[in-house]
């Protein structure tokens, strides 16, 4: 069994094609997002009692990294509120399919930025300030507001969802991790697409809008850039689009030669290791360095962080690829093999996140009742004390995640190494080595 077409079920298909359920979700999530911004800006500065910190960095993050990404790929993008105001402005409508084209600039995104490097930089920028960002409600509020405003502003200048595709720091990593997910959106029959003249899935039609993600569904072979907005499901006149269930890691079978994606893998792997050490470790000096932005200690920490991600990790990986049996270039070997790090990277983040989510999940109940720290008690849970949950299963769960990630990466490495003509062994030892470090840091 390779694929199960979920949209074969007429009820599910019409549910996904209808704009109403999607709109209902959009309204709620957008309202929640705006509430989080306001709570961050005017609510209590104490992170653990502010809706903004707790529901963004604990609740939303937990759902994202533990459920949405591993099982639904870019499922969060399907409901994310950030592009919505801009998109509604672009379209001149919230619900209606295309009518008159509104007068926005609709420029093409510049060629030089048509990659995920800006997303890599955006993620790193937030990552270097993460200690402050994760603990300061007003900063979280400001960052969320900036993302919303930037997406809206970009939509008035550029076509489609420029922010989502090329700038969003979250989209950068859930794109590459979506390759692992067992959910996909693909065409059913490529001959139908070959014969289709207008390609309304990409250009739009009276039935719906052209792909906001700037993807041509007919040529899509990987989950990386499809945001599951389901527009193409509505526009395809031949009902040639399907949402399928498939085995894990399916997209990793295909080689890629993109350096930006390769480095994204190292950025995510490296930052998970650094956070496990700095945030969850017992070393106070590292935490001080990471928190006191602008001091010499912080600059040292930032330099070390960047060196680890851009020099040490890729450098060691490079050394693993030196011996080769055919003439594939180093760049090709490097980009092809680095996709093997994707399962490991995701599982590193799962294992890391499990720790602080289980430890601090009790804050969600309290902040639900008193989101701004004004003394409310909406659901009677404001007084619930901090209490870590699941402490006894944490270590086994982290081990399971890391070992599963290691197996996924090792299997991918085997296939990629065979195709690239390099020995698998060094790459697998590289993965094992990093896994051992992560286990030692977490357990």
């Amino acid at each position: 069994m390779t694929k199960i077409e979920l949209t074969r079920h007429p009820l599910l298909k019409s549910f996904l094609k209808s704009r109403y359920p999607q709109l209902a979700v959009f309204v709620l999530v957008l309202a929640g997002f705006v509430f989080a911004i306001v709570a961050g800006l005017i609510g209590t500065p104490v992170g653990s009692r502010n809706f903004s910190i707790v529901f963004v960095w604990i609740a939303w993050w937990a759902i994202l990294i533990l459920v949405a990404v591993p099982f639904f790929g870019r499922g969060w993008c399907a409901v994310c509120p950030i592009p919505l105001p801009g998109e509604w402005l672009q379209r001149g409508a919230v619900l209606d399919p295309p009518g008159k084209k509104p007068g926005w600039l609709n420029r093409r995104w510049p060629r030089i930025f048509r990659n995920i490097w800006l997303q890599n930089i955006a993620f790193l920028f937030l990552a270097l300030f993460s200690s402050v960002l994760l603990t300061t409600p007003s900063l979280t509020g400001i960052v969320l507001a900036i993302m919303l405003l930037a997406a809206t502003a970009l939509s008035t200048v550029f076509e489609r969802r420029a922010f989502c595709r090329y700038l969003c720091p979250v989209g950068g990593f859930i794109g590459i991790y979506a390759k692992i997910a067992p959910l996909e959106l693909r065409i059913k029959d490529k001959d139908i697409c070959a014969r289709c003249k207008d390609k309304p899935c990409y250009h739009g039609s009276p039935a719906g809008y052209g792909c906001p993600w700037d993807v041509f569904p007919g040529g899509m072979t990987t989950n990386t850039y499809c945001g599951l907005c389901l527009e193409c499901l509505r526009t395809c006149p031949y009902d040639n689009i399907a949402v399928n269930l498939r085995p894990f890691c399916r997209d990793l079978v295909k080689p890629s030669n993109r350096l930006d994606e390769a480095f994204k893998a190292f950025i995510m792997l490296g930052s998970a290791l650094v956070y496990a050490g700095v945030l969850l470790g017992p070393w106070g000096m590292l935490k001080d360095a990471a928190y006191h932005v602008g001091t010499l200690a912080w600059f040292t920490y930032a330099a070390g962080f960047l060196a680890f991600i851009f020099i040490i990790l890729p450098g060691l990986f490079f050394l693993c690829l030196m011996r080769a049996q055919n003439s594939l270039s180093m760049k090709q070997r490097f980009t092809s093999l680095s996709r093997a790090l994707i399962p490991l990277g995701l599982m590193f983040w799962v294992a890391f996140s499990l720790s602080f989510v289980l430890t601090n999940a009790s804050y969600t109940l309290a902040t639900l009742s008193d989101p701004l720290g004004l003394g409310w008690n909406l659901f009677g849970t404001a007084g619930i004390p901090w209490q870590p949950v699941g402490t006894s299963i944490l270590a086994p769960a982290q081990t399971l995640a890391l070992v599963v990630g290691l197996i996924g990466s090792a299997r991918t490495a085997q296939k990629a190494a065979y195709e690239a003509g390099v020995s698998t062994f060094p790459v697998i030892i590289y993965c094992l080595g990093l896994t051992v470090i992560m286990l030692w840091l977490l357990i």
Binding site: V46, G47, S48, R49, S131, V132, T135, T136, V253, K254, L279, L280, G281, P282, W283, G284, M285, K287, D288, Y291, F356, T359, N360, W386, P388, T391, S392, A395, P396, Q398, T399, L402, V403, L406, I407, A410, R411, Q414, K415, Y418, T424, F425, I428, I429, C431, L432, T435, V436, L439, W440, I443
Partner: protein, 147 residues
Amino acid sequence: MIPRLPFSLLLMVGLAAIFVPLPVPSTVPQERTFRIEARQFAFSPSELKVNVGDTITLKLVSMDVVHGLYVDGYGISVQADPGQTQTLTFTARKPGSFRLRCSATCGAMHPFMIGKLTVGENHWLLRSLVLAGLAVLGVLGQPILKA
């Protein structure tokens, strides 16, 4: 070069690695006392090591603001103002590694104010390392995935 190990063998060794009880060296239970200074945002000392069966007394000395001390796995905690040392006493019955956490909001980085108590050997870490090695051995012996 690595023989293809049958899945059943891997599974058996894996289950053994998870469930086989590891020996705990029988040491004479001692009374151990630690004076732990707590400041924003670290404990000092931040890593403690004891034997299984020891009775541990942790004296929490807050050095700047009100801090707490919570022991993962035992679920006990205490809170101390600067100038008023508070004590937590318990018997370390389970081997393993347990995080110490601050249990009184003491500023921004409070959720990351963490220490580590190791009782005996960190059994779970050993198990997980074996499992990781086993995973690699298992994969190396498998034929390559054909698309």
